[in-house]
Amino acid sequence: MAANYWASTQRRHWLFSREKLADVRERLREQDKVTHSQFPLPDQRLLNIYFNQQLIKLGKRMSTRQQAIATAQVYLKRFYTKNEIRQTNPYLVLTTAFYLACKMEECPQHIRFVVGEARGLYPEFITPDVAKLGECEFALISEMSSQLIVHHPYRTLSELQSELPLSSDEVALAWSVINDHYLTDLPLLHPPHIIAIMAIIVAVVFKPSNPGTFGNSAQSALAGVIRDGAGMGMLAALSDKPGSGSPRIQKLVQWLAESEVDIKAVIECTQELLSLYEVWEQYSEKHCKELIGRMVKSKKLDK
């Protein structure tokens, strides 16, 4: 459980194959095709970027740690594999996920304070009544079958930091990559240690020439490198011919070979992340806000 990912509910109940996940979502769509065509929403990843920005805004004045934001993002993903987003008020669900994650990650916030903050940000969508959030908490816990403990890749990263070892720039970049992977389906598709290794590889292989501050996202730092195609060859080298690349990368490749990590899964994760950075170019906060707002208002989901 807490120490043992292999026996955890995360591995037993919240790890999907790609096919299974697509299937689950298709079934949600099938149940209400009309609403689906009536209320188109942006690409899931763009929505995730939007939700993540909202969680960060919520957390800002409460000095919430990144891990609580990450847990909230995982709760959202889990909840929306069981519920069609178009039947919910996403602002209420994300505020509740935040409130619950803070308790679970031992940085609790008072319900009134959370509702107050959320109301400041979304006066149209959050009522002052704390009972609404309390009720949504029940729905969230129930849909997740009380399986609230989330294993994050941050832990593997800090454990491997000294073993490999990694420079502080590399750790910072890998950390940002882990932050970004919550914007994709990867947390539902792969165990946390695979994600951590992916983040380390991305940080070492694609390390931009001007390391420094990456902010909350590695996107800006990595997007350029990816566009240029640099590093893609390195990625191929990981699976095909160990021994190529710089000595630093060779060492990493050798370590990977010895560690019996599922290299194929790691490469798949890397590709998923790179395609996130491509999709990101189309992100428009305004667009997400409009579509969600229209959906919530016309379906009266805020009542």
């Binding site: 039947q87 679970m104 704390v130 009972a131």
Partner: protein
Amino acid sequence: MFGKGFPFLNPVGGFYPRETVDSRRPGGYTSKVRVRDRYHIVGFISSGTYGRVYKAIGKNGQKGEFAIKKFKPDKEGESIQYTGLSQSAIREMALCTELSHANVVQLEEIILEDKCIFMVFEYTEHDLLQIIHHHTQPQRHAIPATMVRSILFQLLNGLLYLHTNWVLHRDLKPANILVTSSGAIRIGDLGLARLFYKPLNSLFSGDKVVVTIWYRAPELLLGSRHYTPAVDMWAVGCIFAELLSLRPIFKGEEAKMDSKKTVPFQRNQMMKIVEILGLPRKETWPGLVSMPEYTQLQSLVLHRQPAHFHRGHNLEGWYQSCLKNGGYSATSSAGTPGADGFDLLSRMLEYDPTKRITAQEALVHPYFANGGPISGDCFEGIEHKYPHRRVTQDDNDIRTGSLPGTKRSGLPDDSLMRATKRLKE
């Protein structure tokens, strides 16, 4: 929050007909499972700050006996409202869902219904508090040494599982150690338990007072901010001693929090420990001087008669008289925990938390390694029958029972709490 067509999945993956859902309360949260459809409540077991515990039997194909712990939200005005779940309820729900071990209480399911949480556990017929109490009635008769050994082994086994999974229990005491009718030990009540792997906030900041005072480790009494699984091992030592002597070994009086909610130094409790173990010394416990309440400890030396301190360590004296009073000897029917038992006890009641024996070390201690196999049934070879758990009939309505408004930290022993509750009702 949910629109009209919100589909409700039932636990086996099918859908409930929408009409049923909508007719109850359109747009609101409705449980997919109803407590009363699945369980028949046969009586009331106990209550605490969190709510109440009921005994139930399964219905509609659900077999067996269960203990249902009901958490109720705070009352706001007249009607019960959703007010957000307590962190302690969240922890217990999440941990019990994740944990699975033969010596940790088994959770069957959690039902969220009518603004309440129902945690359904396997039913356990006994607990250590009740067993210890039974051995003082009508006069004191010792718990057989083999039984104590089996209880302790199973308890440590469950605790090792918790600790290797980074869970601190933080509230081990006889009332929370459950015993099934087939003699299996189950660690119960994870309401104060929490993960200790790199917590975001220091463990101290969340809950300032943990562990019922008689079982509270010296580093906690001295205000330690970073405590470890060793606090649970101290409590196990206290329980071991209590199983042998049938009385709490360090039965102090709790100093109450003042109006400013500052945590007072538990002078009386510290004295009880010092009376048996002698004063902690910085030579044997180097971390002692950096404890926040170190000066308080020194003032304790100045204000007490020297008699308390010159006898030195007399845990061994306590142990020997305990064996004598209990009639424990190699030739008696009770048997004896012997010298190995003393060695283990003294390692559990070690002042320095960094030197205190761990659950893993304790399990391979000579006390267990020597002296033959240990039964997984602590009642094995014991003809004696223990009385069943008291189940009362005065409040069988799981849905309307009132919530006592007391705080958890009020009384050190919830058997007292139970008695006063019963009087009130």
